[in-house]
Subunit: 384 residues, 2 copies
Amino acid sequence: MKKILLALIAAFASAAGAQENPWRPQAPVASPDVHADGSVTFRYVSPSAKSVRVAGNFLKLSEMNRRADGVWELTTPPLSPELYSYVFIVDSVPVLDPLNGSYSRDIDRLTSSLFIPGNEVEAYDMLDIPHGDVARVWYDSPTLGGRRRMSVYTPAGYTDSTERRYPVLYLLHGMGGDENAWLENGRAAQILDYLIARRKAEPMIVVMPNGNPSMRVAPPDGAFAASHPADSLYRVVNGTFEASVPGLVEYVDSHYRTLPQKESRAIAGLSMGGFHAMMISKEYPDMFDYVGLFSAATEKELGTDSSVSMYTGFDAKLHEQFKQAPELYWIGIGSDDFLYDSNRIYRGKLDREGYRYEYHESTGGHEWRNWRKYLLDFAPKLFR
Amino acid sequence: MKKILLALIAAFASAAGAQENPWRPQAPVASPDVHADGSVTFRYVSPSAKSVRVAGNFLKLSEMNRRADGVWELTTPPLSPELYSYVFIVDSVPVLDPLNGSYSRDIDRLTSSLFIPGNEVEAYDMLDIPHGDVARVWYDSPTLGGRRRMSVYTPAGYTDSTERRYPVLYLLHGMGGDENAWLENGRAAQILDYLIARRKAEPMIVVMPNGNPSMRVAPPDGAFAASHPADSLYRVVNGTFEASVPGLVEYVDSHYRTLPQKESRAIAGLSMGGFHAMMISKEYPDMFDYVGLFSAATEKELGTDSSVSMYTGFDAKLHEQFKQAPELYWIGIGSDDFLYDSNRIYRGKLDREGYRYEYHESTGGHEWRNWRKYLLDFAPKLFR
């Protein structure tokens, strides 16, 4: 056996080295090194760097200290349990932590991940509990003009039965996201696995479409010519994604064992996806009984000056939606979110009209840290 | 509408900026910039860097030139159509190309991707043709002790029928890979979509398990504590993965509309996965009628000095396998592959025994560039 192992180790080293991948892991130095009290030591091996800093939204931009052996180090104060993102800035160049195999992607931007375990954030980890499957599914959307991909989470046990039917949550990403955003940054599959295994939420299907009309599929799997999405990101709010949702629902109801009725459908989204959820749920008032606006882009002028029919007559459509009030209309936002005022104004409108909603105000800003928590709060309230 | 767009652009910029992601795209400079003749200009924006090089296995490590405005540039000679990987080395630090949204992952190593279109490599692109779905599927493996995840490609049209049954290709990764390797580095879904749409291959299901016994799931989705796989990579060849395959086949046959018989099953793998395919196909001679060894780790001492029953009695088991010779036993390797000699010796053994096989020798080494081409060659020979 020894010879085989040596041959294969050579194969791997070679594949990762000269022939395939010039980015090698460095010396046996650990980073991030999470200590029992929640403090963390970051390390970066570079004898030649002039300056190495840690950049993340959980700590001030901090200079690391160079040890005599060329390893840069920084130890933080104890951090709260959370899933954090960071990069190193080496002589002004931002780089992933080469010693950390865990990272997350937002469209074409990558950051290293840091997980401080504890409390409710254990839901973000891949626990040894039953897991739902996640499929990358292609469907035709006549409204959006062609083939598109979505992600579909089916709860543990789904494939073991041919009878049981499930409610469906449509979960929408923000500007800058795609059909994988809630899975990768949002850890949605892990969160649903956790809530369902702990009997805190009903088993449900979760459908995560791509809400960018011009993007058929997440960039890493997509067409190479279109893998540079920056230009198209600013042409995304034109009503066509919203108008495609009835067709999407029809596809899901005909290809999955759903409970195909309003009381078994929820729609929620973050930022642009919250705007989408607001628009879609009022446009099709018989479709969704549960609505979640997570740090939603709620604009007070909506529906007054637009040539897009999806966005006109907003107040009347909202009135129609609340005539048979949704079972749950949930609004969550962080006190530091730059959309806080916009949400306050929108809540004022709901209050004046006497439309019932549930409001959850958290700390923090416009960030995944909040959106994961909102999903943890929101999903247990559905379908029960 | 203008106000909404501005708010959302602000939301995206903010999410990507101070509050969420410190890694911003830089100025409107393009990289990689592919020209009509197949030459490529790489660009990197850094007024302060002392040296920037391009590292990839398709060109010599090359210094880029600094323009007066702080943009570093390098233009290559014309390159053959291919999907290439590279990184920049900035003052000795390897970094992804921040202007390139396309990258690939090998366990915890990331490289930027460069696609030069043309000829057969169009199969790697996401063309506007019918696409199969890809599911990340959890199954129990008593042999390996618990829940594990695999990837399953089902061809376009699979979900539109409830009757039609399909043959199955089991496609195995190498050391350093996981259940996503063939999808991400191998572009297997795009290749199968292409071959099936062009009627060059039979519609088939492709099952991609994780061949590392100690790894339940690919690191990016996995448990955070286990997201540093380096230690475990060298304990991967112990016979337990191979022994788990009958249970895997049983799962697939009971959860998918397969043709559950030898003549409708193929198994192929690269490097360690080629070793696995060789071991599994001889251990279970009634299971697979098509076998593919792609740059396989074929060791001449196999089965003589091992305490693992999977690896003992190799010659007798191979004899048993070839008594009812597989419909196809396909061996592919590159002339520069460090496993070339090992494969030559293994072919010598097959020749001496008169075992029929098909041999494909390519240029190049132990690299994805070859493995994608081998799949393009191999898949059309299956099930017809």
